[in-house]
Symmetry: C2
Subunit: 233 residues, 2 copies
DNA sequence: AGCGATGTGTGATCCCCATCACCGGCCGGT
DNA sequence: ACCGGCCGGTGATGGGGATCACACATCGCT
């Protein structure tokens, strides 16, 4: 799956962006121990229930985190961007990975072996704290995920929630009412726990009510409040 | 809510049971900083979305961990027994509690303030590791919870899964095919994400199929395999 | 005993959404 | 251009479970 190793100059350029909240000395130590490689779309970094080999850190690209039931149905937990470490909880507790990580687009990913992470954590208390806080963050995100899936058996509510969630990630953009739709209806369905067909139907309904407009792969949400009124309905 | 402080002798008797996997020196330090109190049934230790004040450690009794949606529906994440720390993730990441903790029976609970935990973690690397692993454990448990809720929209499958899960906790007991039913149907419904009525109906159905028998508050599960065959159906 | 609160059993109804089926569009390959 | 895969729309159908509406049991309380 790994196709190409990036050179050292590229590595250094990425340092501050990824480990910006860590002291430089520790960031350097991580760089030394990590192996950064490029992956094509659809590469599986690790799979649910595999024994943990180490942590993966997204340097560039987007990675899909999902869990799947025995019947083959899939739930996408979230899609992470650059800067996010994956598999940390599994490594520090010596368990198996709890989810499957798969690249959504060509990505550069650093890998840090089990033993190297633990060694560095023992060496640098700051790193141990950083790891702990990241796990706590993942825990919180997972709890919120549960809330969103449970508190509404209505699919339209969950879809509306997902859309406004996307808007919230967009505060940096020049067009705060637009979202790039990088997911298929099938994948959207896997994010809100419903079928592809209902996603199609719901989006069609939203368009009919002028809650959203679609041109190509960009969604325009003219009236955010109207969408939000569907939530907690 | 706190009604009574236990005396020092009781404290010492509890030490090894709760912190058995920690070095004695650290366990002692935790004892020094912690405040142990008794709570009646139904006391709320902390509520979802509250700012975190510190961690709670169950010394005796059982505590219900739940999250609730804006419409008032409730999902019980799990019921924890003695020895389990609660609210750790919220404290180390300085966030709000992600769930609500409520005593299910009269319980003794130790409380350790935010600042004291962080201070002790900085002092003892072992403690920091202990905390991290507990959070990772909670994360894994939450992921499994999601799996169980998602992979089956069928309520009977989820109920069957819950029952065999209870059997698994019972390996210590003299009667490995029996479970003490300490929850109401309503609460069971909140554990598997369905209504009280369907739980009643499902249990009635199970009885009719001789998958379970009930005498008073004890459930007998004569044929565990038959129940398991409902899962992944 | 009497009474409220709480937990449980069960019927009737209804609606949301999964599922099946099919079609049309778009794109990439040879 | 032809085809084969993926993606997206949309109708028809059916079922599982939520919800409403009762009746009954149990228990603690004064």
């Amino acid at each position: 799956m790994a196709t190409q190793t990036v050179n050292h100059a590229q590595k250094l350029a990425l340092v501050d962006k990824t480990f910006f909240d860590l002291p430089p000395a520790i960031a350097d130590a991580l760089e030394q121990a990590a192996l950064t490689t490029s992956y094509p779309t659809g590469a599986v970094l690790f799979a649910e229930a595999q024994a943990s080999r180490g942590v993966f850190i997204v340097r560039r690209g987007r990675v899909k985190l999902s869990i799947c039931g025995s019947d083959g149905r899939t739930l996408i937990l979230r899609i992470v961007n650059a800067g996010c470490p994956l598999g940390v909880a599994a490594v520090v507790s010596g368990r198996q990975y709890e989810a499957t990580a798969e690249t959504q687009e060509p990505s550069e990913i650093s890998f840090l072996r089990h033993s190297d992470l633990l060694r560095l954590m023992r060496l640098h208390g700051e790193l141990a704290l950083w790891v702990t806080q990241h796990i706590a963050q993942d825990y919180a995100a997972t709890c919120r995920e549960i809330r969103d899936l449970i508190l509404s058996d209505s699919a339209s509510e969950k879809l509306a929630r997902l859309l406004v969630g996307w808007l919230d990630q967009n505060t940096t953009s020049k067009y705060p009412t637009q979202v790039k739709l990088a997911l298929t209806h099938e994948e959207i369905g896997q994010m809100i726990g419903s079928s592809r067909e209902t996603v199609s139907r719901l989006l069609a309904g939203f368009k009919k009510q002028h809650l959203i407009q679609q041109s190509g792969s960009t969604l325009v949400i003219p009236d955010r409040l109207a969408l939000e009124s569907l939530i907690t309905a």
